[in-house]
Amino acid sequence: MARKQQMLNDSSKTIGGAALLVVLLIVSAVLSSVYSNEESSGPVHSVQAGVGMVAAPLQFVGVGVAYAEDAAGDAIQNATASDSSYTQLRDENAQLKAQLAELQEYRGEAQRLQGLLDLSDKYDFSGVTGRVIGKGTDAWNRVVTLNVGSASGVECGLPVVGGSGLVGQVIEVSPLTCRVRLISDPQSGVSVVLQSNRAEGVVRGSIAGLLYLEDLDTSTEVNVGDTVITSGLGGSYFRGVALGTVVNVINAAGTSDRTIVVEPFSSADPLEELTVVLRMGSEGDLSGTSDASSSDGGSSEGGA
């Protein structure tokens, strides 16, 4: 009897759980549908942007954890040095260590900001520079959070550059923060031209983080070292921003298919400070006379 009662209880519990599951799944499906069909200024997107802004301080703590990890790595390296040399160096450097670290930090920051300023001069754009305060919270999206938002003039769709070139695009804006999808994200696609022969294509990200140059005419000659710059087609990115160089061209045997791998200039930069480009004056390197990767500023004029 007791066993029968227990079975009845279990059965009703299962039915209750299943009903709750169905209700929650329907709510999830409705939310997904609303999210997918509304514009980026829609209510669910707005709530997402607001929650992202609220979570930004937590993400900033996460960035701090990353720095702590680096410091711990340095400490381990120091600890594994030989005792005699370490003791000698420790006495010598004790007074200067903290000051040096501070100066190095300032110098690094100054160099990065100088790089952004150089880029700004080179392309004659106006933008707002922000600090990276958060990284993506899942493995599927390559996204960073900047501490500049709509209050600083940032809007969805604007391109974002680092010290060496294009980094990504703003996909979500709150008053104080914005989220940037990196060009290495599989959901990113940038219309580009090869600087050497003006062949047009699209650079797409991938799950592995590599950039692939696709939709290129099969007759177009592509060589390792060719510079890739944005074409401005589609309107998502300004024209003429340096993106990267071709580092590998893999031809498939027996067909005209080929895989072209592009290494972004921005891969050499730490993702710490980035500039959201608000307005573009001239059109960068489309004149084709400069090497986009050169540090001398190259020719910033040219193009339309």
């Binding site: 209750g16 799944l25 999830s28 937590l58 919270t137 899942d138 493995a139 991938s206 799950i207």
Partner: protein
């Protein structure tokens, strides 16, 4: 009541750790989903309807904190909480091995389902999505489960001192 409070507190801690810690635990592009791990283990240990609600809201928060489609994680976490709970009821024999096997299956299912959703919405190949993300992430989740499982078991066991002898509602470590 105390278990419910702990359930919510655990979820909050998992969400905070996912935001603060998980982005710094990336290995070859794979990141653990600590919220998923917590939801799966909590569902396995408690087997209550309240876990479904917790899973839904934890997923919803992760949807809102992240940049993916709102509702996807909420639905997946709810589904996995239900399945894990039922699987633990049918197959669980209160050993670490059985618990891990159930967790592993559920984590893999979530990652594969998410990969399926991702493939439908983004132009990536099945091999790339499964081989480079879903499977490594599921393995990473399983590794995290080895840490989260004892902590969560201890937490819920401590919260329920008046329960009967732990013959079926706790995991016995072997």
């Amino acid at each position: 009541m105390r278990e419910s409070v702990l359930l919510v507190v655990g979820a909050v801690v998992a969400v905070v750790l996912q935001i603060v810690l998980a982005p710094n635990l990336v290995i070859l592009g794979s990141m653990p989903d600590l919220v998923l791990v917590y939801v799966g283990i909590a569902a396995m240990l408690l087997r209550r309807d309240s876990v479904l609600v917790m899973a839904f809201f934890a997923g919803l928060v992760m949807d809102l904190v992240g940049t993916s489609t709102v509702g996807v994680c909420a639905g997946l976490y709810t589904l996995i909480a239900f399945l894990t709970s039922r699987a633990a009821g049918f197959f669980g024999n209160d050993t670490l091995g059985a618990s891990l096997a159930i967790s592993m299956g559920c984590f893999l299912l979530v990652e594969v389902l998410y990969a399926g959703f991702y493939i439908l919405s983004v132009d990536v190949s099945v091999i790339e999505a499964l081989g480079q993300r879903a499977l490594p992430c599921a393995l990473y989740d399983c590794a995290m489960a080895l840490i989260v499982l004892p902590i969560t078991t201890h937490m819920f066991a401590a919260a329920a001192p008046s329960h009967k002898a732990p013959t079926s509602s706790t995991v016995r470590l072997r």
